[in-house]
């Protein structure tokens, strides 16, 4: 049932979609039916696939770089009081700036290629990763810190043996948010200026009234985003292997 449920939900939505299209009789260029999108998906797989690979690369590299930057920043903020005083306010204020507004600038500075989209993805995931991990590193049971102090633990060993492992559940939450928003960064970057990627393909198809191709691209993008999320969720669970999961039954 666990495997069956999402498949049933998906099929249900497809049927609803088909019924809606049949009942209203909207033309294909407004809302193509599911069978039409499926046909395009298969017929034009050769076109969609390379674009999907481009977008996938942007997302994955963005995730990796953003995670490393965010993780390092959180560690620096934890150990350095000057960093907390000087950098933290800047970090918080920087979040008031919509990352989307920066997209044209990034394209201007970094070009139409991969780098500007990776930069977009990094920018968009940097804050959630940093904030979540930093929070986890700070909110450690004070009893553990007391114990470490009496044992003569150095700042470094406390960080390594207690704070970092204790922060893994929070870090995992940050990674999950990052996985959910990283595709947005990459696609917005592609919309603003690019020569490839699913965002580019969608924009291109839109301009030519190829709504079915747009839907096919969107489907692939959704599939990629879901796969990424599932993967990151698995990693996050592994990182916090010791944590019991006590949700509502």
């Amino acid at each position: 049932m666990k495997v069956l449920r999402p498949i049933l939900t998906f099929l249900g939505l497809v049927v609803l979609w088909k019924v809606l299209v049949s009942l209203t009789g909207v033309p294909d260029f407004i809302l193509p039916g599911p069978e039409r999108v499926a046909t395009v998906l298969i017929d034009r797989a050769g076109v969609i696939l390379p674009h999907a690979v481009t977008t996938g690369m942007e997302i994955v590299i963005g995730m990796a770089v953003g995670t490393v930057f965010g993780g390092t920043s959180a560690l620096v903020l934890t150990v350095s009081a000057p960093a907390r005083r000087w950098v933290l306010p800047v970090l918080v204020v920087s979040q008031a700036l919509p990352v989307f507004a920066l997209a044209p600038l990034l394209v201007l500075w970094l070009g139409y290629g991969l780098v500007s989209k990776v930069a977009m993805a990094v920018l968009i995931i940097y804050f959630p990763v940093t904030a979540a991990f930093y929070d986890g590193l700070r909110r450690v049971d004070p009893g553990w810190l007391d114990l470490a102090r009496v044992m003569g633990g150095s700042t470094r060993s406390v960080l390594r043996v207690i704070r970092v492992p204790a922060a893994m559940p929070a870090f995992g939450s940050g990674l999950r948010v990052a996985a959910a928003v990283a595709p947005i960064g990459a696609v917005v970057g592609e919309w603003v200026g690019s020569a490839g990627g699913l965002g580019y393909l969608m924009l291109h198809a839109n301009g030519r009234m190829q709504t079915d191709l747009m839907f096919a691209s969107l489907f692939v993008l959704a599939l990629m985003a879901l796969t990424l999320y599932a993967l990151v969720d698995l990693i996050a669970r592994r990182l916090a292997y010791w944590q019991p999961e006590n949700g509502f039954a």
Partner: protein
């Protein structure tokens, strides 16, 4: 075994003096029990000796070892909560102190920790995580971790109060035999626990709190048998002393 002497200990919360100018000495190689009602500053006094900051208040006072050497690195601390790290195995929790001091997970620490776990009857749980242990087992691991420190001075803050009566009884016995000969401060609110384990019993009560001796415990071998008639008598007396102390505090 070095003793510990505390001079001029003071504690205040939000401008309210909990205690002031308090002197306490822990004789070397002996267990001292510190009894008193909740909120009288027992734990804070213990934290002061351990070199830990007062939680939310301000504490002051001089703490010295009677042999003149520094106290740093010669104290082991055991709290009411077991404070086991859930991501480490039982074994690694026991030898946490070694890793804290940058020694890593070497064979030496493994041998010592395994020996302690064996003494606690937990050798077969060494690779398990704390999450799979019962409350009593967890506190036994915490006791093993305290013993691993092999410190001459041991500070215990209500270490057994969260346990059921039978488990508490067993752990008191273990602690008494494994920590005999060390300088121990046992903070507790259980008069019978103090009577079972301590060579000396002090009461902290009133507002601002004062320290007084509760007299010598019965001359029985430690851990004292709580079912002896003189133990019941003394326990009744202690209850009385504690009660009058807290009333005194409430009246002022």
């Amino acid at each position: 075994m070095p003793g510990v002497s505390i001079h001029g200990a003071a504690l205040a919360y939000a401008g309210r003096t909990v205690f002031d100018d308090l002197d306490l000495s822990l004789p070397g190689g002996e267990w001292t029990a510190l009894l008193g009602p909740s909120g009288v500053g027992k734990s804070s006094l213990l934290r002061l000796i351990a070199g830990l900051p007062a939680a939310g208040g301000t504490a002051a006072g001089s703490v010295r070892a009677t042999d003149g050497a520094s106290l740093a690195g010669r104290i082991a601390y055991m709290a009411q909560r077991d404070l086991l790290l859930p991501w480490l195995s039982v074994l690694d929790n026991v030898r946490l102190g070694a890793r804290m001091r940058g020694k890593g997970r070497d064979a030496d620490s493994r041998r010592v920790a395994m020996h302690l776990l064996d003494t606690m009857g937990l050798a077969d749980r060494a690779t398990d995580r704390p999450g799979s242990l019962s409350g009593g087992m967890r506190q036994r691991v915490a006791l093993a971790r305290t013993l691993f420190e092999d410190a001459p001075i041991v500070l215990m803050d209500e270490p057994f109060s969260a346990l059921d009566a039978v488990t508490r009884f067993q752990l008191q016995e273990m602690a008494a035999s494994l920590l005999s000969g060390r300088t121990v401060l046992l903070v507790t609110h259980d008069p019978m626990e103090a009577l079972r384990l301590a060579g000396r019993i002090m009461i902290l009560s009133g507002s601002p709190a004062r320290l007084r001796s509760a007299g010598d415990p019965p001359a029985l071998s430690i851990p004292r048998d709580p079912f002896q008639p003189e133990m019941a008598e003394r326990a009744a007396l202690l209850f009385q002393q504690l009660g009058s102390g807290s009333l005194e505090g409430a009246a002022s």
